[in-house]
Amino acid sequence: MDVNTKALKKNAFRVTKERGKTASRVRVPGGHMDACYLSMIQDIAEKYGNGTVHITNRQGFEIPGIDYADMPKVNEMLQPIIEGLDINQTDPGTGYPASGTRNVSACIGNRVCPYACYDTTAFAKRIEKAIFPNDLHFKIALTGCPNDCAKVRMHDFGIMGMTLPRLDPSRCVNCGACVKYCRRKSVEALETVNYRPKRNEEKCIGCGECVLNCPASAWTRDEKKYYRLTLLGRTGKRNPRLGEDFIKWVDEDSIIKIILNTYKYVEHYIDRSAPGGKEHIGYIVDRTGFEEFKKWALEGVELPEIAEVTTPVYWKGVHYTK
């Protein structure tokens, strides 16, 4: 059997422990899709796979037990899924064009969750359109609010929804709900001054508890959507660590520019001699220093006035090499 493993990996198949068998990896950007695609995945698994499907950590489906020879037929069957999920593709019918950049994953967001500050799937798909196909190893995840159910701090780019709360004092009844919930569920950014809540702007993390719990609609959300962008969290062998805050109150357009800029930075600085030519961004930044990364990342980015950039960023985590 002669199989080009480099090519099949790029095509979103994998080399498995079972000789002669591969697995097809289906991505669901933003983790939400029409239910009709489930039966198509079922068909592939039953026709070419071993009848099982693994639900992946990154909100995809992995269909194992496929003969290498069947990859073209599987790719044909994947076509309606790839089109339906609006994946950028170079040649129709040939499957996924790249697999380096991982699926952009997201919590359920404001399509369902009351806490979410935005539509996580829609933003994930917007990022998907901007960055795919791409062979560089990037992990991006979105979460609706600072609860971070999507664990975005474990990713290269973590995007956390924020609500800028606005108070209409004429609607405030001083019931104390916002102050209480901010104290008990969030960061104690509110206190009552002269019968009205006073917001500590530095402390506020934009979780929206004040808005959610205001019975009089005195607190509402600002028209603009804002995010916290965390950087370069990772799992892995050498130095697993949580992503650290980079920009608080950043907007969608800036996030996309920063991610695209980072691809340029990685193209420029990646160590091509690394095993598989694959190097995580975080280790590149460790090598070049944060300031160099920041210079590239913020090139041409016009941040909103209220954005707060943390600089320099220091990471902690567990070091197994020291």
Binding site: P114, T163, V173, N174, C175, T220
Partner: protein, 337 residues
Amino acid sequence: MGYCYKTQDLQQVFSALTETYDLYAPRLFPNKGAFSDTDLVRYDRITSPEEIVLDRKSRFSPKEVLLPISQTLFYFTEDKVTEPNPPKKDAVIFLRSCDLHAIRRLDYMYLENGPEDSYYRQLRDHVKFALLGCSSCFDSCFCVDMGTNKNTDYDFSLDLTGDTWKIDVKWQEQEELFRKYAVSQETVSPAFVTETKTRVHIPENLTAKAAKSSVWKEYDSRCINCGRCNFSCPTCTCFTMQDLFYTDNGKVGERRRVWASCMVDGYTDVAGGGSYRKTNGERMRFKVMHKALDFKQRAGYQMCVGCGRCDDVCPEYISFSHCLNRLSDAMKEVEDL
């Protein structure tokens, strides 16, 4: 007399009215709902008929206009007290039948229940009412059972049928204005519903004994005492007072009255640290019994007008109408006590 208009004609009437009146109606506030990317419908000033939201119920009632959420009663300096200026313009409030019935309840509370309240009177004397016809009910409405589905006590009515606005005018001093821009004249009577999906029966034999029933107990844990039911209610009239001193000069300040809620902590706090209704079940009992019994004993008619807003806004899905329907069982339970 009844008149018909297309939107652009009615706009002329609205434009003329806004010279002397502030028009208040349920208005859409995009993305101002508590959840992200959701809207809020509440009362606010409008200038055109298209701004009136007819297909959704307003989260808050029109009482905000007559009973501001936070109202400064006077400003004080060391030896002087000054009342704020009244609104420059009179008001026209666009409201549905149930809400217009609710105004009658506000009148009772503020004008007939003891001495007149001058702050309420000041605003009340400068308000006209435009009845919004109801061609259908919303899921939580129960106006028919509360007898509030019809109302003729309006200055003019407003119904939208297809793209034609129909208005019945009783407001003689503006009759000419309405006639001037009308496309045609016909007899108009505002639409009203004759049945609702939600049905409510308050037992005739209801007495204060129902307070001893066990039905209130479950609300101890279900209710979160947020007060949304009170703040959205068109007939809740409670307020509290706030004296605040401007911080730069501790001798100058203002007194204002602000909506209060019998569900929210602090409502029954008294000097000496006492607090009378501590559990949420007790608060629910007080609210329901006040609406269904106490008010009626004094005023002779039900306080609740069946708008159903309290059911719509409760984050814990506690239904006030369902609770009213439990009162018959509650009375049976306490019969022999």
